[in-house]
Symmetry: C2
Subunit: 270 residues, 2 copies
């Protein structure tokens, strides 16, 4: 048996999330369907984690096991020919037998994109949350430093979470402000992207952090409250869960022992 890992992008707009569910219409379903069309047999695909309905991915990683002898450099093209245009396999690599997209992951990076232009950018509206009032980017940035490090993130997950531990480590938390697409820049306007990198994320964690950050940006809360919200270990202390379409899973990282090298795979393929 071979273990194959895929680097996958998808526009989550039309899907009920990554992971299979009884109602269907998930990214996992589409990937398993494409592999089945290619191999003529069912294959179970494991994602690095689920993404909710409407959430996007630039660099989701999935893995599966197969007896197929199709050369590794042919997989991406063969699967893309069998996938809808809003799901693209960017690369395929042969991984060590024990590799598992979720269990082997050590770091993930998410982006939450906010468009605080008065009127939304029509070309990016599916990928950014539109907030029509200016935001205090400096206050938002200041609040983020309280989140860095190892913490109990209970305030930033659903009260229904069944995880045995809510302790996670956030390695990086930054807010980048992009020059306005319309050329008429004004204070607090334009697109801003929250990037969070950590060793793991609880259910809704990025979206609740983004919802809290928006309240700080609006001036409803002060930056130093972020520390108190974290310390409260109470979902009610944090802000609302920001809408899913602003969220994108950017990348998933694995330890060097797995030898996952997407760049080499992309170059070899050509």
């Amino acid at each position: 048996m071979r273990t194959i890992a895929l680097l996958v992008s998808y526009d989550g707009t039309g899907y009920s999330g990554y992971q299979s569910q009884p109602e269907g219409n998930t990214v996992q379903d589409r990937l398993e369907h494409a592999i089945r069309l290619l191999l003529g047999e069912p294959v179970k695909v494991h994602g690095s984690g689920r993404t909710d309905a409407g959430v996007h991915a630039l660099g989701q990683v999935v893995s599966f096991r197969t007896d197929s002898r199709i050369p590794i450099e042919r997989w991406a093209l063969a699967l893309n020919a069998r996938l809808p245009e809003d799901i693209v396999v960017r690369a395929a690599v042969e991984a060590p037998q024990a590799f598992h997209a979720r269990r082997s992951a050590i770091r993930k990076t998410y982006r939450y994109m906010i468009d605080s232009s008065q009127f939304p950018d029509v070309f990016g509206r599916q990928y950014a949350f539109h907030h029509p009032k200016p935001l205090r980017f400096d206050a938002m940035r200041e609040s983020l430093r309280h989140l860095i490090g190892e913490h109990d993130f209970t305030s930033f997950t659903s009260p229904n979470s069944t995880k045995p531990s809510h302790i996670r480590t956030l390695y990086e938390a930054k807010l980048l402000h992009l020059p306005g697409g319309d050329g008429f820049q004004e204070e607090g306007r334009g697109k801003s992207c929250l990037y969070l990198t950590g060793n793991g994320f609880l259910y809704n964690m990025v979206r609740i952090i983004a919802g809290t950050l928006l309240q700080i940006g609006e001036g409803k809360r002060q930056p130093e409250e972020m520390a108190r919200i974290l310390a409260a270990r109470d979902r009610a202390a944090a802000g609302p869960t920001a809408r899913p379409h602003g969220l994108t899973l950017m990348s998933v990282e694995y330890g060097p022992e797995w030898g996952i090298d997407w760049q080499a795979a992309i170059h070899r393929r050509r």
Copy 2:
């Protein structure tokens, strides 16, 4: 009567073009419908020019006349509340009585975006033409200089054109190559944008230039052929008409005598 001009963005994916037609589903129809909802009376809207089905606009300009006394700074918000989310009025200005979005225009800029990554960027797929093979950007750039200036562009328009003259002046023609979104850059890959600025464009002119440019990029034609194609004044000499979804009308310019200042309008509004 007041003359009002609007700066409008739209995602043309779902529309049968800008200009009204018997089958409906055009951007003009949606704008006229929104104005009618606001004023309670029909208004005829004039665009700076038509855009084909599937073509987008960042800065289309439209004008209309009305007796309404609604203050100019309220129009954008009022119309956006009555428009679908893929059409956004970015600003409204009060123009001199004689202003007309098409007749008063002196320069337009179009962008044709090409994605020559092996697999398309899922997040930009609606706005870029996907060409899965690498392109010779330098050859493409070299060919463009032959188009600059005043020329008879008969080779680059439909043989059914009914325009009395095919002479137009191209002020600028450039190809910008954007860093690859996937971080794995390779020669001839990534996104490239053709920007054309001229005093006017014939039917399909930008798309035929883009289609010819793609043949030069692929190596099917040499850069110096662009001069011969232009001189031929024959549609058959040029390449195919590139697909509409890569095309965006970026901006329309008017002489200073009209006093159209979008930036001031956007700032006043807030």
